[in-house]
Structure formats: C-alpha cells, structure tokens
Amino acid sequence: MAKTTKTSKISDTLIMENLTYEEALTELEGIVESLEGEQNLLEDSMKLFERGQALVMHCSSLLDAAQLKVQKLVGESVISFEEESE
C-alpha cells in the first residue's frame, strides 16, 4: 500500500549516493506531491521533509560537481578524449 512504500523509501537513506540526478529528482518530486496530499502522519511528514532536503542537497552537489565528460569512439570502444587546445 502507499504507506508502506513511503516508509520503506524513508529507510533507504543510506543509498543516497548512488542515485542519479534523474532518480533523485523524481523522488524529490514524489515527496512534494506526497506532502501536498496531506495524508501522512506528522512523523512521516517530517521524515519525508528531511529526505526531501537531503535530495535537494544531493542534486545541488551533483550539479556543482558536473563536468562535461567527453569520450571518443574508436571502432566499437569508447575511450577518453583529449581535446586540442586552441
């Protein structure tokens, strides 16, 4: 049921680092909707809020750290690419 899904998500705090930007964003959007729905117990809501804040931090740091990764295709393999400096 919906409630068990939420609580199991809440306990997944440990796996934050492995979330891609999209996954984190999707979860964050889900939390916003859930909190707007107002069907949660107060304690659950507070946990969701904390999780939401953690996700915001995670997304921000992913954006801050992002550096365009450029690779080159040689045949069927992908190798790192050194650009020519102009």
Binding site: Y21, E22, L25, L28, E29, I31, V32, L35, E36, E38, L42, S45, M46, L48, F49, G52, Q53, V56, C59, S60, L62, L63, A66, Q67, L68, K69, V70, Q71, K72, L73, G75, E76, V78, F81, E83, E84, E86
Partner: protein
C-alpha cells in the same frame, strides 16, 4: 538567293550598329544566358565595375560587371579561374563591340552540383525521407550526446564549449569523421552507425561553413539515408545560416550552425535544473512549516479545551462555589443578627420610654403613701403622709385634707 534589282541597303555606321544592337538585344537566348569559360584580363578599376574576358580554346567574349553585382560576389575572381557567368549581351555602339553584362558568377561545376542537389532532393522527398511525421522529438534532458564531426576544427570546439556551459551533467561521445572529400560520405555513414550502437539520447551532426562543394558530403545520398534511419534523433548543424544540405531535411531537427545544434541538444540547462530543485526545496519547506503551524494550532486549541474540563478547574470552580455559599451564609447570618439587634433595640427603646425613671426626668413624680408604699394615681388616694419621688430623690409631704 535571288539577286535583286535594287542595290544593297545603304546605312550609316550608326544605323548599322543600331541594327546589330537591336538584333542581339531582341534575341531571347542572348538576353538570359549562362556562359562557361576561363577568366582573363581581369580589371577592377576604382569605379567598382569589373571588366574581364571569358575565353575558351577558340573564342573569347568581353565581359563587364556593374559595381552592385560585383560587390555581391561571394568568390574572389582571378585570372585563369574557370567560371560560369550569367547575364545578357549588350552592344557598346561607340566602339562597335558586344559584351556580356554579367550579373552572376559562380565557379564552374557549381551549377551542375546545384542541379544534382535538386534532383536528389526531389527523389528522396518522394520516398518520404523528409516527412515531418518521421521526425522525433529531442529529449529534454539527454544523458549521452553523440557528435559526428571532424576531430579538428572549430565546430567540435564550439559545440563542446556550449555543452560544457549549458549541461555539464551530460556525457559526450565523439565519432570523428572527415567532413569533406570523397572519403567523407562512407566515413560519416560508418560514424553514425557505430555511434548508434552506444545508444546516445541524441546525435549532433556538424560541420563548419564552406562552399557547396565543401558541404557536398552532406548531400550524398548514403549519408542522407543514414541520418534518416538513425536510431537516435539527429540534430544537423552544417555550414552557415543560409546553407541547406539534404541532411538538414532528413534530420529530426535542423540547426543553423554547430553551436546552435549544441544549444538545441541542451534545452534544459543547469540554470533550469537549479531553478527546479530550488523550487522544490522551497515547496517542501513551506509544506513542512504549514504542517507544523497547523499542528501547533491544533494542540493549542486542545490545550485550552483541556484546561476548561480539567479537575484543577473543577476544584477551583468548587472553591469558588464554596466561597460564594459561605459569603451568602455569612451575609444571611449577619442580616439576621442585624434584624434581631434592631428588634431588641426597638424593644429597649420602648422599655426605656416606659421606664418610670425616665418619666421622672421629664418632670413627672411618683407619689406613694408612706404607710404602704402604694402608688397614688388618683386624687382620692393622696391623703396623709406621702412620699414624692422625683428624678434625683425623694421628699415627704403631708396632705391634711
């Protein structure tokens, strides 16, 4: 030809020249003509007009180009250059010469290339390769962006800089390929194929500006088909704004330049993403604050209600009741005592007023018979020795009657 009876026509030079001019200038073939030849004797005086000769093995043709047309030339004319010139024949009467008044010049072969372009375009269009329904949308937030272009050159550098600025979250895979020359088309086809094995979210096909010959690889049928059949959507950014190649038509999206292609691939930028998560952050904070405020209000209301029905309050209430009762009791008692007191006072006063001693002070006397102490209240009783009591004592009197 029959000899005439009359002699040949006699004309002046002017008349003859005018006649020649009329002939030439009324001939439609000569008034809208493309001529192929080699440039020589090129002259570019200060007036801005151009003068040159077009020649081939057996003949030569004087040409001139008016300043406005000359200024519009995209190519740099040189002696020895093989060109195609378009214009009309005019006659310059003072010198008795004819010339080609040129309005367009292009390198030789370009005309032919353009024809080929039109032919291919019509053919591929008929096959449906350029149909709008086949075009796929570009993903809003691509993870993997493929690029097919030359490894050297400004196009790649510009695209990478654009992507780095707008969407550093993304990953780029370059499939390098020559972009002109005979080796280009098969290399481009191969690049597109291999790149698609990596399943990118979008592919950028790009090349910097150049002439129709330089860009010709992107009109090659094999390349155009590869673009149309690419698994990943293709954004084509070849040449300058005004250059259109068949790949542009076959691609899912056309960009005017390589930089623009990179921009179209990164519709959602980091700024947009930051704004999005900031919005979410604000939203959940507001929701959480609202929730807490709501609960606080609820608890506060309950606390008030609880206070109202608590034993403490009951006890207080009872105390108050008790106080009230005792107050009423004591006031009732006081009242009663007061009443009694008044009553007694009343009686007392009456008694006082009835007190014989009181009467005495008012000047009355009590007369008693000395012998038996009986009070004399009638005249008949007042004989013999009498005691008279007044307010401050007694005295005796004798009534001898």
């Amino acid at each position: 030809m029959q000899p005439t009876l009359f002699s040949s026509i006699h004309l002046t030079v002017s008349q003859l020249t005018f006649h020649i001019r009329k002939q030439l200038e009324n001939d439609p073939t000569l008034q809208d003509v493309w001529v192929e030849g080699e440039i020589s004797n090129l002259s570019r005086p200060a007036s801005g007009h151009f003068y040159f000769t077009l020649k081939d093995k057996n003949a030569s043709l004087r040409c001139m180009m008016w300043k406005p047309d000359a200024a519009r030339l995209r190519i740099n004319l040189q002696d020895g250059m093989a060109v195609e010139a378009h214009g009309r024949i005019t006659v310059y009467e003072p010198q008795g010469t004819y010339q080609l008044a040129v309005n367009l010049i292009q390198p030789r072969g370009e005309g032919a290339l353009y024809q080929e372009f039109l032919r291919l375009k019509a053919m591929l269009e008929a096959e449906g390769l350029f149909d709008l329904d086949h075009k796929r949308p570009i993903p809003e937030l691509p993870h993997v962006i493929g690029i097919v272009t030359s490894q050297t050159g400004a196009a790649l550098r510009d695209m990478l800089n654009t992507l780095r600025r707008r969407l550093p979250l993304a990953q780029v895979i370059l499939a390098a390929s020559p972009v002109q020359g005979v080796e280009a088309p098969p290399a481009l086809v191969n690049a597109l194929q291999l790149l698609n094995y990596q399943s990118p979210d979008v592919i950028l096909l790009a090349r910097g500006g150049g002439s129709i010959e330089d860009l010709w690889a992107f009109n090659d049928e094999r390349v155009v088909r590869a673009v149309a059949h690419s698994k990943a959507p293709v954004i084509c950014g070849v040449g300058h704004e005004t250059d259109f190649t068949l790949c542009d038509f076959a691609a899912d999206l056309r960009a005017p330049t390589p930089t623009a292609a990179a921009e179209l691939a990164s519709q959602t930028t980091v700024d947009d993403l930051y704004a999005q998560i900031t919005q979410h952050a604000t939203r959940i904070t507001d929701l959480a604050l609202n929730l807490v405020a709501e609960q606080k209000a609820l608890v506060s209301a309950l606390r008030s209600r609880l206070k109202y029905v608590s034993p403490e309050r009951r006890i207080q209430s009872e105390y108050q009741h008790l106080d009230e009762l005792s107050r009423r009791a004591s006031s009732a008692l006081t009242h009663r005592i007061q009443l009694q007191s008044n009553h007694i006072n009343g009686i007392s006063k009456r008694l006082l007023s009835l007190n014989p001693e009181g009467i005495l002070s008012r000047g009355y006397a009590i007369i008693t018979r000395k012998e038996d102490g009986a009070v004399v209240s009638k005249v008949s009783q007042a004989r013999g020795e009498l005691k008279v009591r007044v307010s401050d004592g007694e005295f005796e009197v004798k009534n001898e009657k």
